[in-house]
């Protein structure tokens, strides 16, 4: 096999909402039939597409033959850079500053208000001091579990 130089990315159109199911079935079929499909990607936030990494489009046709929810088998060819952007999406992190008051929207402290002490962007964590009358404590929680409150 020639390896990476010849791998291409083929996007097939599937029913919106059925992407994960289609990808799971394709993965089983690839293993069962020994097709040369190297990876299968369901991009987050984009509905209706499943991306197959393969050398030969024939394998893509074989992998999708007769599958329910596959709407168009003629694949769209994507560049590697485009696929990487889909796989490693830029995540918008709410701008939090120490001293800001936030509401905790998930986890054990859900519903409580807290004051931000420190933000660790690299780890995606935020250290907060809980603003509860009976229960003053600090906690380090994932950044997506807090929501800034209007001051």
């Amino acid at each position: 096999m020639d390896g990476e130089a010849d791998a291409r990315f083929y996007a097939i159109l599937v029913t919106s909402g059925a992407e994960v199911n289609v990808a799971t079935i394709i993965a089983e079929r690839v293993r069962a039939l020994g097709l040369d499909i190297r990876s299968i990607i369901v991009p987050p936030r984009i509905k209706g597409y499943v991306i197959l990494e393969a050398h030969d489009p024939g394998d893509v046709y074989d992998a999708t033959r007769g599958l329910r929810h596959v709407k168009r088998r003629r694949p769209l060819i994507l560049k590697f850079e485009e696929v990487m952007k889909l796989v490693k999406p830029e995540v918008e992190i709410p701008a939090l500053k120490p001293g800001q008051v936030v509401e905790i929207v998930a986890g054990a402290f859900k519903g409580m208000k807290a004051k931000v002490i420190d933000v660790n962007q690299a780890k995606g964590q935020v250290t907060v001091s809980l603003l509860e009358p009976l229960f003053r404590a600090t906690a380090t929680i994932p950044i997506d579990e807090v929501r800034p409150l209007e001051e």
């Binding site: 199911n21 993965a27 190297r38 990876s39 987050p44 990494e53 995606g124």
Partner: protein, 72 residues
């Protein structure tokens, strides 16, 4: 995009496992979530460009996002 599927994601490593799994077969974690989106299945890690780029050296099935956190 948290819709009901038969898979749940390990909160620690992002591995997708069937609903009802108690211990993650990849990392041993016991915490799972339904709030995942995007899926990456590496079938042939030796020849996959994506796997090489991400440093994946064995066949995996992972979630791409858990909440807003990128898992891969």
């Amino acid at each position: 995009m948290a819709r009901r599927t038969s898979l749940i994601a390990c909160k620690n490593c992002g591995a997708l496992v069937p609903r009802g799994t108690k211990v993650c077969p990849e990392c041993g974690s016991t915490q799972f979530t339904e709030n995942w989106s995007g899926m990456l299945v590496v079938v042939d890690p030796e020849n996959s460009v994506i796997a090489r780029e991400l440093g994946i050296d064995k066949p995996v099935r992972k979630a791409i996002l858990i909440g807003k956190k990128v898992m891969i």
